[in-house]
Amino acid sequence: MIEPNRKGEIWVFAEQEDGALCDVSLELCGKARELADELKVPMAAVLPGWNVRELSYRLIALGADKVYYVHDTRLEHYRTLPYSRVMCELIAKHKPQIVLYGATPLGRDLAPRIASEMRAGLTADCTDLSIGDYTESKTKKVHKDLLLQIRPAFGGNIIATIINHDRWPQMATVREGVMCMGDGDPRRSGEIIEEKIEFSDFDLAVKLIERHREERKINLKAARTIVAGGAGVANKENFQLIHDLAGAIGGAVGASRAAVDGGWIGKEHQVGQTGTTVRPALYIACGISGAVQHRAGMEESAKIIAINWDKEAPIFSVAHFGIVGDLQTVIPMMIKAIRERA
């Protein structure tokens, strides 16, 4: 625990694997930059790793004034305890007021360990962050310029705003994809500060024996998001739009029977009674009228977006969001909105 320190920096834990920074760390740099400007303090990234110094320039381009770089062979692959040691030592030394982590499997393993050792507050899985004041209900004491940590709670049924007014740093993990990733400015300048951290035997006691990374294969049944095209797509060239949207979302491509029969895409992509039955978190039906055979294969999806020029199309009867319009204009707008993470 550190005392509230109004001059403290805003920090981002820069998560990298095999020499590549993960997207959420880059997204967080933009947000941390905004918060730092509002509070008029410097913004810094903490980058533990081995031979990853050049990643500092990307962090600086995206808004970091400083990068605390910890270069050590024992940090080549993530392990909880040495990484936690790095963060706790640096927090104790530099007393940042805010520390942000990506809510990745790694971030959700690391951040609570640090919060416990520092006896600081931590809010998991935030979807938004801002600066604001908080009044204690009993004492009416006002705490100015706190980090408002906004997150869904209770199975996503409520949105809670969490604050941490006395035991700093204020820490949060932030979901991937909710903050906007900037383009960065390669001309920005910043300072790279090398830090040395001592590890105890305990810090190094857990051994990484085997490590396996895999490309995620697209599998219709397992896909969290499916973008499906139907007769309304009209031809094979236009079907590229469906691939583009799926690519932008990181979803799988599905199709109605009409699209498969038209030869625009393979049968393995067909959703419906004679194809695959799917229940993804999000199903986007593009130019699919929604014959009962198709609806039977997708109506259990948690959320359905239907895009069709015909406002009478039966697909709208199972949709949560309906857009009456032309695919050629609506899909590019969606891709743009997703890229900007509006």
């Binding site: 392990r79 959700r108 507050g121 209770f154 199975g155 049924n157 941490n164 857990v206 969001f321």
Partner: protein, 304 residues
């Protein structure tokens, strides 16, 4: 020989069942209207401990923190083979955030003592934070293995475990004792055993017995009730049906780290999300319309 596994379990409201009817007029969730269930991933944590005991022998202690009604999940543990059950119940523990909760649990685990594994579910469905496991490990000064999928090798005091890291997997080797958080893909929890259900359905804490006695002996004197309570406690203890009930004094908890005082995070405000599951929303085919829809999907976890 064998291993002593402590399993941390939690009773949670079934958040998957939130509907319009379970929302209060002010837009907050009426927890009382939701069924209280065994936190799903904690059942997998219990199963992971049972698998260790099946193969190597040992004992299993299940602990929970919560209101007395949470003894229901402890009985569920006994039905599946736990050897001992303990509830930490104290009004002063109310409003604990994950840090205060992990502190209190760490005091209880230390009081139990002499353990090889602490198993927790990865996260509880009422908060989805996944913080208590790693925080408890730190408080106990133990290494942590999160996202456990299976035991690869367990040899004397060294365990090799496979963990799922989302885009792949790793095998970690740790010396015991170690804290492990378990994923729901790790195993298939066994059902309650019929014979054990018969045996343990009467397992209660002393305070629950006291309530039972008060209800059974409405017209009796206090003295008679006290006598009857002592008799019933003794009977339960002899039959190993007494669920231990500890308060913060029993676990030697320092109150500055418990409950509201021990919780650095405070809830500033809460807003409900209007349930749109059955609703239909027409979106204008404009940049603003599409942008608003995408934003909504990101905020409610559908995208991203």
């Amino acid at each position: 020989m064998g291993y002593h596994c402590i399993v941390c379990v939690k009773q949670v409201p079934d958040t998957a069942r939130v509907t319009g009817e379970t929302m209060k007029a002010d837009g907050t969730v009426n927890r009382a209207a939701l069924p209280a269930i065994f936190n799903p991933e904690d059942l997998h944590a219990l199963e992971a401990a049972l698998e260790v005991r099946d193969q190597y022998g040992g004992t299993i202690t299940a602990i929970t923190m919560g209101p007395l009604g949470a003894t229901k999940v402890l009985r569920e543990c006994l039905f599946r083979g736990a050897d001992r059950a303990i509830i930490i119940n104290d009004r002063r523990a109310a409003a604990s955030d994950t840090l205060a909760t992990s502190y209190i649990l760490s005091r209880a685990v230390q009081k139990i003592g002499d353990f090889d594994f602490v198993f927790c579910g990865r996260q509880a469905i009422d908060g989805d934070t996944a913080q208590v496991g790693p925080q408890l490990a730190e408080k106990l000064g133990l290494p942590q293995v999160t996202y456990y999928e299976r035991m690869v090798d367990l040899n004397e005091r060294t365990a090799r475990m496979r963990r799922n890291v989302g885009n792949g997997w790793e095998v970690l080797e740790a010396k015991l004792p170690v804290l492990v958080t378990v994923l729901d893909t790790a195993n298939e929890p066994r059902p309650a055993g019929a014979r054990k259900m018969m045996q343990f359905k009467k397992a209660l804490t002393a305070q629950e017995l006291e309530r039972e006695v008060a209800a059974d002996m409405k017209d009796a004197t206090d003295e008679q009730r006290t006598e009857e309570l002592a008799r019933r406690i003794e009977t339960l203890r002899m039959n190993r049906l007494l669920i231990d009930q500890w308060d913060l004094d029993d676990v030697d908890g320092d109150l500055q780290w418990c409950g509201l005082a021990g919780s650095p995070t405070k809830v500033h405000r809460v807003q409900s999300i209007v349930l749109t599951k059955d609703g239909f929303k027409a979106i204008e085919p404009t940049e603003a319309g599409v942008r608003g829809m995408i934003h909504e999907l990101i905020v409610d976890h559908t995208l991203g």
